[in-house]
Symmetry: C2
Subunit: 373 residues, 2 copies
């Protein structure tokens, strides 16, 4: 009998992962609290078992994953850690892409006790950049590295020239969560949206990039002493988001309006969900460039993907989902291929087979990806 996978979250990326795993003939059960998200998925892939479930409730979640062989975590960041903990407590291995603010490695001991493997941050960035850095560092020494990543709309529409490629709440997180990077082995913290620079991206044009908190586990695991991640947007976007943040639109501190107590960020999230709603099918561009510089030569990875008409999927869903799928299928084929514990992708960079498996899956799906070490 085919193995069963629970996909937690049916957002823009989670639904893509569910559809692809279903096409690979796995039994897929998708969970989401929003009926509309599941209805859309069911229309596209009628074979998927879609269940309206609040996975933030540990009891419901435990019941949901009771009989599955593997779990995929694709929930909004604020739910990520709690969901991961519950999954591990239920002795299920998991591949996760949630942009959680907490450090998931604090669940490492729990994973060992329960003898399960949890691969975290297994998307594009974090995700592919971690795996590539692990792979490159297993081969050469590097002195510094710079990661640029971003999801952009193909059609630029004012005021923000941006569209959602994952949850609005997680985009706001990128604009508020302090950005940590490595400078000479020391972790430096800067506000998000800082150090704005203008860069030319080949075939795309002029973009801007700002500090974002994408290094995460690499802050502790990176053998490269100086390493930064920056997020890419069309020029002008950063200043607009900075203005919203500085004015208080991203604030959690409640205000009273007409007798009701409301956090501005909750209303901002609803407003931006509409202002950032993808136009039409949501044609987007996903960009990733990792450049590592060292005495033995440089290494570089570049991904430049576009909305796929064939798969009816955004570039961000593809480039985030496919690395996760490659890791998940590796675990399903051989549950002992990865050791127990909580692992970020860079831990497996030395595993050449695994790295090439991920890159091959991207190539099979015609994601334009080039790398050189």
């Amino acid at each position: 009998m085919n193995k069963t996978i629970a996909v937690l979250g049916s957002g823009l990326v989670g639904s893509y992962i569910a559809r692809q795993l279903n096409q690979l003939n796995f039994q897929v059960v998708s969970y989401d609290v929003k009926e509309s998200a599941l209805q859309k998925l069911k229309l596209q892939s009628p074979d998927i078992d879609c269940q309206i479930t609040d996975v933030s409730n540990p009891e419901s979640l435990s019941k949901a994953i009771q009989d599955v062989d593997l779990v995929i975590g694709a929930v909004p960041g604020f739910l990520g850690y709690q969901v991961l903990e519950t999954v591990i407590q239920n002795q299920k291995s998991v591949v996760d892409i949630s942009f959680m603010p907490e450090d998931p490695s604090s669940l490492n001991e729990l994973a060992h006790i329960n003898n399960v493997t949890a691969v975290v941050d297994m998307g594009l960035s974090p995700g592919l950049h971690n795996l590539f850095i692990g792979y490159a560092c297993a081969r050469k020494q590097f002195e510094s590295g710079l990661i640029y990543v971003g999801g952009l709309p193909k059609i630029r529409k004012k005021p923000y020239e941006y569209q959602l490629v994952f949850s609005a709440r997680d985009v706001i997180e990128e604009y508020t969560r302090p950005a940590r990077y490595l400078e000479n082995k020391k972790s430096v913290t800067q506000p998000a949206l800082s150090d704005v620079e203008t860069i030319e991206f080949p075939d795309i044009g002029t973009l801007e990039a700002f500090n974002s908190d994408g290094l995460r586990t690499l802050l502790h695991t990176s053998p490269i002493p100086t390493l930064k991640e920056k997020t890419l947007r069309y020029p002008g976007h950063t200043a607009q988001m900075w203005s919203l943040r500085e004015a208080g639109f991203f604030s959690e501190r409640k205000v009273i309006v007409k007798g009701q107590s409301v956090s501005p960020v909750d209303v901002t999230c609803e407003v931006l969900k509409q202002a950032w709603a993808p136009q039409g099918p949501g044609h987007d561009i996903a960009l990733l460039n990792v450049k590592l510089i060292g005495p033995q030569g440089n290494a570089e990875l570049t991904i430049k993907d576009f909305f796929s008409e064939d798969e009816n999927a955004t570039a961000m869903a593809r480039t985030t989902g496919l690395p996760c799928i490659a890791m998940a299928t590796a675990l399903l084929e051989n549950p002992t291929v990865l050791p127990p514990g909580v692992h970020p992708p860079e831990n497996f960079g030395g595993n050449e087979v695994l790295f090439h498996r991920v890159m091959r899956l991207l190539a099979d799906h015609k994601v334009p990806a080039t790398f050189e070490v």
Copy 2:
């Protein structure tokens, strides 16, 4: 016995008017729904009778103004019309500065029936610009006119380089209310914040100006066939406000957040109240430039006022409040100096004594004002 004046609204401008009328030895009763506003006023002028009253309640308002000789209306725009109507029904003459969206001239008949004089839009702009246009047009013919007006902070602070000089709700109104102007005797409507131009203001530097809905009664009364009003801000502000509006932050349409139904504009108003809060004492700059062009020569009025340490008052409170005070004291001295009815200031432009009374009061308060016809 001294005459008694009710000042409705103790905001930034209303409280200045109350203080000045008190210094002129009138009996002043100030009304506001907010205790904090009245407490501040009471500290500055202990002689003023401060009453916490909701003037949007017609019964409370009728009772409040029962025994006064004159009413000053200085409430937020959305309350203006209703308050004006109640005051007229109570047979009280009134000088009003509220930026109401409705056309107050629809209360003209009611004012005649009750035999009272209501001078509306009697602030800076609308207000002084109407009076000046009336004054100039009584002397010469003009083909076109352009009005620039704005309240700016002396210290420019990002993100918005703006600070409140009257209610946040009325500032948002300037950014949302469609702007009407005259082109060859025809009323043309454009969105607020449109036709942004960069201008150099002498001694101030580079500013930008956008269409705003400041002509109001002049749309019907102006003998000048082409006339526009534009609002002044520091460069960049207009695009920021345009972004907020286009994204939906000024929308009345409710969104659901955590089970509560909220209008984004209500939350935006609270956020901007804080983001636009005056720094320290609120040093500001109030600018007005009216330029009329005609075959018999041009006319020009320029006001460039700054926060007054002597009066502990913002430039906007002074330049808005003093024209209102000049008109109010004229009415108190001689209730028949102005005919019954609802009158915008341009109606009195032909009254040279009244025009010079207003200009003299500005000069007495050291407001830098120059004019030429």
